[in-house]
Symmetry: D2
Subunit: 418 residues, 4 copies
Amino acid sequence: MTIFDELESEVRSYCRSWPVVFDTAIGSRLTDVDGNSYLDFFAGAGTLNYGHNPPALKKPLIDYLQRDGVTHGLDIHTTAKAEFLQTFREVVLEPRGLDYKVQFPGPTGANAVESALKLARKITGREAVINFTNAFHGMTLGALSVTGNSMKRGGAGVPLVHATPMPYDNYFDGTVPDFLWFERVLDDQGSSLNDPAAVIVETVQGEGGVNPARAEWLHGLAELCKRHGILLIVDDVQMGIGRTGPFFSFEFADIQPDIVCLSKSISGYGLPMALVLMKREHDEWDPGEHNGTFRGNNPAFVTATAALREYWTDDMLEKGTIAKGERIEEHLSRLAEAASPLELTPKGRGLARGLAFGQAELAGKACTAAFERGLLMETAGPCDEVMKLMPPLTMTEDELDEGLAIVTDAVHCVATGA
Amino acid sequence: MTIFDELESEVRSYCRSWPVVFDTAIGSRLTDVDGNSYLDFFAGAGTLNYGHNPPALKKPLIDYLQRDGVTHGLDIHTTAKAEFLQTFREVVLEPRGLDYKVQFPGPTGANAVESALKLARKITGREAVINFTNAFHGMTLGALSVTGNSMKRGGAGVPLVHATPMPYDNYFDGTVPDFLWFERVLDDQGSSLNDPAAVIVETVQGEGGVNPARAEWLHGLAELCKRHGILLIVDDVQMGIGRTGPFFSFEFADIQPDIVCLSKSISGYGLPMALVLMKREHDEWDPGEHNGTFRGNNPAFVTATAALREYWTDDMLEKGTIAKGERIEEHLSRLAEAASPLELTPKGRGLARGLAFGQAELAGKACTAAFERGLLMETAGPCDEVMKLMPPLTMTEDELDEGLAIVTDAVHCVATGA
Amino acid sequence: MTIFDELESEVRSYCRSWPVVFDTAIGSRLTDVDGNSYLDFFAGAGTLNYGHNPPALKKPLIDYLQRDGVTHGLDIHTTAKAEFLQTFREVVLEPRGLDYKVQFPGPTGANAVESALKLARKITGREAVINFTNAFHGMTLGALSVTGNSMKRGGAGVPLVHATPMPYDNYFDGTVPDFLWFERVLDDQGSSLNDPAAVIVETVQGEGGVNPARAEWLHGLAELCKRHGILLIVDDVQMGIGRTGPFFSFEFADIQPDIVCLSKSISGYGLPMALVLMKREHDEWDPGEHNGTFRGNNPAFVTATAALREYWTDDMLEKGTIAKGERIEEHLSRLAEAASPLELTPKGRGLARGLAFGQAELAGKACTAAFERGLLMETAGPCDEVMKLMPPLTMTEDELDEGLAIVTDAVHCVATGA
Amino acid sequence: MTIFDELESEVRSYCRSWPVVFDTAIGSRLTDVDGNSYLDFFAGAGTLNYGHNPPALKKPLIDYLQRDGVTHGLDIHTTAKAEFLQTFREVVLEPRGLDYKVQFPGPTGANAVESALKLARKITGREAVINFTNAFHGMTLGALSVTGNSMKRGGAGVPLVHATPMPYDNYFDGTVPDFLWFERVLDDQGSSLNDPAAVIVETVQGEGGVNPARAEWLHGLAELCKRHGILLIVDDVQMGIGRTGPFFSFEFADIQPDIVCLSKSISGYGLPMALVLMKREHDEWDPGEHNGTFRGNNPAFVTATAALREYWTDDMLEKGTIAKGERIEEHLSRLAEAASPLELTPKGRGLARGLAFGQAELAGKACTAAFERGLLMETAGPCDEVMKLMPPLTMTEDELDEGLAIVTDAVHCVATGA
């Protein structure tokens, strides 16, 4: 491990929590160079919804490489891209009645967010945007300006302006009517709020602490945007592709965002890829107005196509996700009850789950204890006060139970050791 | 091709010039779905310096996938990353006496640029930066603010501030002393120039029109930065990894930038990957202060390692690049002379070459004519007035001659008004 | 009047409501060129708290001019300035136990606000500020960025950033606890609120609709600022100098702001003058760091000194203001009751009073009707829905009653649909 | 003087150079409380072009106050304003064939500049502006963003953006063609210069070091602006109203700016007043879009009217200014020759004159020596390297000679004492 200490920048972070060298991975497990196995409740921060190296995707990927399919394509037409687009239309858009155009920005979530913000500003001719408390949208300057975390914002080195935060759902524990502040400042010509081009929102805030927004809140937000001529951008980078059950996390709220950002699990194999979806009437881009070298990562198109065919032509994955999510919720609720002095609060939706600790620092300690017991987990929330449970959607029930048992163990260990 | 027209956003661009569907690619040639073959003078805009799907990289890549090596790693330690870091140190840094730390930002050049700008601002506590006329650094908001092209800047939708342009080398055709304006405003406490944190520069401007900076200009720039406590960032995303001959494009100027951005050809296989190199004393990052989901694209680490071993343990590639570059230069000079009414100007260095047209619109027409003859080329420059010749560094001399013959043909075709 | 139409810019506004040419003015009355007399419920938008051309100030002013006292002084020492400073210390600061240093910025309220914001940013090293809904602080770029009115903000021509609005007192009619949102985003490290240097607040919002903040709200705000290391700036440009009763409008809330902006009535004679007061420990200015040509308007110092001696060495003015304010309040309450279909709401404190109309456009009509009856009044509020009553503090009771009778008349006239 | 030390903010500056308390002033002389007399080569930084308390203005001013003319008028119509407008049209605009509309912004130069920038942005829909090296336009945030001095810019506390500096005339001592850089970046679609709404320029830079722009440079600038659809704003706050000879300082270059800012000497008596002049077709303001409490300082209108009548109905003042300016120039040239080791450089035009020192710090010392000899002078330039000679235009030749003798004396004193 010397090489990492000697050569890699101090900016590295996850490796500090898990000080081993990983070698191989399959399904819900990783193996380190010493042959130790780790169960994965992290899933590449939501990138590995189908687990590591899923065989149904691995084979077409290797076949594609073997036959020298175009690897790097910018935005040229390729067979791999054509197949992806056709499959995406057939499997995703048409069954849901969504008439979106598809943009391939650079292959990261931040790039999708940057594109979405640019497009919204172009369409409306306004520069301001609304974000929410504890939002996370990425680290490039445009995406960072709508991200909440003060440490990460501080890294910008320039004032982050043009965005104004609004309270996310449940920010006041239900004591204040939804959108009271937001709608009031929009309606008030003297509020000093700059007219917003767009609202950008996550349906469940992952990094922000696994905070789920309710369907009625999201629906209300969509209505409010419509009334005020504001575009609604859903950042579905982490919560999309089935993480909460349905393909798009916003489906349960019965809304159709103007713009949708996808990345992370879209390729299904952990390969960099991102999409921006926009309502057909909003496709006001000029050719080349936004570009990027790796927007045509064709191996990712191949695995993305295979993933859609494997997992999204029936509702088994969605149902399994919801069922497993409930299984976790029940487990965490019992645990919270059993360990009541810790003031634990289960949170989340589908397989995006969190366990908030009354004492913030215990969450990190519990994650460390979990790692020592062979389970990978990270914390979330503004004070890292939440243990985040994001297993692959394809995790077996036995693995899930194994992981939950470790969570219980880790929490008890923290409870007694505290 | 209907699917692209129907479903893909209007933002797509290259596919408009090359309206075919590509399927496979190897070395310096692509093949479309109808079996037509195309010679590549484009090389993925500098991403495919070793050509398409180079066998020496393909095998370890497929092996890695076959044995279920970790694919997606964020910044966890993996064997693939360790091997890359060791190889990079051995093959690249140590022989050149460079003591850089290595950051893995998100896997795109823009992300490397965003990181570099953040870091420079953090180190210096200043927010302003200096960029150069006709620079290209990327499409995310921070990178776009230092990019020159007015159409792309217009896409930002917010005023792009914090950067002030300075004239690039040869901007006034040698009639004005180097850095006359730049140094004057730095020295003048009344100039209204905000104190810059950093200068960001390309050694050859690719998108900007294949404009090479001279060694003495780059050296002078490095000295000027040093005198004024300004950090020097070289964006070597397109010109690094051997495009102009040496591994780093700045080696010929005998300078050591404070920060270096690499991407495009670093993985060697067209897979998304990027690096930020910073002098050891500049590694002031806090853990996690900049992050990104795809910063650990391990298949790219595997091919990057293989590429370093295959191409950079001796000087054959570098010498070949310089020789082929001179071959192109001679060819273009003869062509310019022969077609003197077109006012052609050969430009560039190494295998980054351009042919500027007196009448801007003819460059595009010549590229179209080249495509019709089976050669892929793009234009560059603020008015798209330059045919850009960027073949894979590994192109054979026969292929090179074949391509140059087509260029000649295309230029004559345009000359005769067809 | 032709000359105004022909030569003066379209930006002019008050003259459109009062299309006559005024010639002389004394006390609470103006006279136009045709000899018509107008009672003044406007007082130069708060600049003429002692009425027009008060004799007790006029004499020393003319004496000073007669004897060729220094007129224009920048920030040189003059006898007029020395006398003002001594008197200000004796009459204003010492009796109130205030240890402020005094800055003479340019002679307008906006300039005082610009200075205050600069100073707060310098002291704290932060760039963000908090303003309130419906605030008015001036038209220069820094002051405008903390002003609420969307039309005026639109005039900036650049995005107004660096300020985030918070709800002013009573913004939700008491249904939400004070500072619920503000304190929550300050405490939340993930809120995305940039750390504020300062809060800028009016104790009664004049332009914003004559909205008074309660003592407990102001007190709570001061406490909140203290807890969070935020400087509290009170913009007392319109409400200071006795408009609400005490010399400083914030006295009743028992707070000591870090910085105070004064202008408008400070000279007492309508002459341009402004002050910034800052706690002694906050005087971190470097010499000349903020300046302005007219910061030493010595005739204004002369009248300001005379005004302090005339009106502020006992509590008669203060008591009179409070008594007259109550008289107005009673009158307006009765009027509101009598004209209940108009949904009138009396507002304000001291002699800053307003009458809000259920139908916004009627307020303007009532002001027009008042003008036709010889009374000068303007509207306020984001929709111009408030008749603003700001008579000179020195108005006699008879004049006050005369004016209130016209108000009643004007309201009835509007009520009957005329 | 204790009161100043004890109570006035550290921001004060001029009083540090002249540590006496001034009491009265008339013509070109001030008298302190101890009866010492000082000759004035400072003229209120250009505010007192007609000297202190000129009798021809004093009488109508006192008459106006005596008869209780309206003092404070916002933008209501008054007889004083009507007379000023009529006189300004008759005496200034019509004889020069200028069809400007007149705006009364707040009563300071900075406010005029803020208005001008807003208006230019509104007209063009662009946000960027061009300023010049060593420009001075004021201390409010908009005006400061186009001001050069780094200390003053640092006081902003926020990054000053939206303006890009260009080299002022003679910035490279004539070695570079005029506008080489400026026009090149305007023409180059890849320069990264944001399209400017306006250029703001002084015809002689006062604070910047008494740098005169040549007629052909100004003319070239006006042509360049026209070609590129950029509005030309001349900030004539310090150099207008006859300082360089003609009423407007730009007349000698035969240009008609789109927008002109006037302040300082426009009232003629040192009273705060400012004007923005705009070509009739550019008057796109909405009513009230820019306002300010003291935009109707009627006593200033009275003295302004009297000054126009007194000094601008014939060409005597203009001729006298030019003649006296030449007298100074000759004197300074001889002085420079005589004191050649000091490397003195005479600069300026009309009665805006400077003497630059090879060793910057000697300029301040010479000013101190001048003060000790009874002459008021300030320094200018980015390093305070210039003694600034700005006597009242009405100074007698004897006084001028007296002052110049002191300058010579002070310079010699510094030369020997150095």
